[in-house]
């Protein structure tokens, strides 16, 4: 655990995060300002966090913010890092991480598709990926109601309370 404490201290010194916590076993959460994300990522990569596990986003609709989450992993130390930064929900823009982690390309594309976050520098991010002819809000935003969308587009079977026979509802066939 000593290396874990060292890592925490070093990251604290280097990144000056807004908040830092350890949410789980061998896991560090670092909250930084959005404009320092790029630097933080390259610092962490050089610190040994060479694997980008996922880039994702959380919609904090009450605060009107998106929280971008980068999860990095160091195979040598066995520590996961959540690097988080909040950006404005109305104009969500972030600098791409593809120059540091090329693997981020499709994660960013996905975040763009599902949340509408723009990634400057990632040309591909704005293209559709999973969805085809999508005509509504980005679906993982909290103000998108999948039930309503589903109801309007895909009719369901009417399920009344009439049964073939009153008790048990057995089918004679």
């Amino acid at each position: 655990m000593n290396s874990m404490n060292n890592t925490i201290n070093e990251i604290k010194a280097a990144l000056k995060p807004l908040k830092m916590e350890t949410p789980a076993f061998r896991q560090i959460a670092v909250v930084v300002k959005p404009d320092t994300v790029h630097n933080a990522l390259s610092y962490l990569k050089q610190k040994g966090f060479t694997q980008l596990s996922i880039v994702t986003c959380v919609d904090w609709i009450k605060e009107s913010e998106f929280e971008l989450v980068y999860i990095l992993f160091s195979w040598t130390e066995g520590i996961h890092i959540q690097l988080r930064a909040r950006i404005d929900r109305d104009k969500p823009v972030m600098v791409t991480a593809t120059d540091i982690f090329p693997g981020a390309q499709y994660y960013e594309r996905e975040v763009h598709e599902f949340f509408g976050v723009e990634f400057t520098g990632n040309e591909d991010a704005a293209k559709p990926l999973f969805l085809e002819i999508w005509d509504d809000l980005p679906p993982l935003r909290k103000d998108f109601d999948p039930q309503a969308y589903s109801d309007s587009k895909f009719p369901m079977r009417e399920r009344g309370n009439e049964f073939v026979s009153e008790i048990g509802g057995h089918d004679d066939e």
Partner: protein
């Protein structure tokens, strides 16, 4: 789907149906998670070939389209092309809950609710997923239906093409889309 149950086939059609029933080639298209139970059904443990069934590579060659579970809109478009490429008589067997009434994805923005709005379904199989025994029994049932001339979904599709097309367009926006690179 209301089907005419009266058997008005002539003797040639009856012979043809006998062959159709005993040699069913399925389209090798894993549309959903039910496809995970198809390999066991096909392979040594359950050996589907005993029923005269086998996988086929392209829709042209296939007789039956297995809809193995949920269909996202993106898949449904391809399923519709595939179905329309198949030669009559052609059949559709729907696996599991999702094809009947949306399954666990009933509130999903990406998957359809009921398949029979878009394509004529000849047979439903219960389960999530149906285990191989059930799949085999389903195929057996399909064979019996074809022998009796009851699997007439394809005729229904031809006769009610407009209705199906309308439903397809309502839900999918466009059915035939240009499948370009997303670049």
């Amino acid at each position: 789907m209301v089907l005419d149950e009266k058997d008005n086939r002539n003797v040639w059609e009856k012979i043809g149906d006998y062959f159709s029933a005993n040699s069913i080639w399925m389209k090798w298209y894993c549309t959903g998670c039910g496809a995970i139970e198809l390999p066991p059904t096909m392979t040594s443990r359950y050996d589907m070939e005993r029923l005269g069934m086998g996988p086929m590579a392209t829709p042209r060659q296939a007789d039956v389209l297995l809809i193995t579970g949920y269909l996202s809109t993106k898949t449904l478009r391809r399923v519709i092309y595939s179905y329309e490429q198949m030669n009559s008589p052609r059949f559709i067997v729907a696996f599991g809950s999702c094809t009947i009434n949306g399954g666990i994805y009933y509130d999903s923005y990406a998957t359809i609710g009921r398949l029979d709005k878009y394509l004529p379904v000849d047979l439903y199989i219960a389960g999530c997923m149906p285990r191989p025994e059930v799949v085999m029994n389903g195929f057996n049932e399909l064979i019996k239906m074809i022998k009796k001339g009851q699997a007439k979904g394809w005729k229904h599709y031809q006769e009610n093409y407009e209705w199906y097309k309308k439903n397809q367009l309502d839900s999918l926006g466009e059915v035939i889309i240009k499948d370009e690179f997303h670049e």
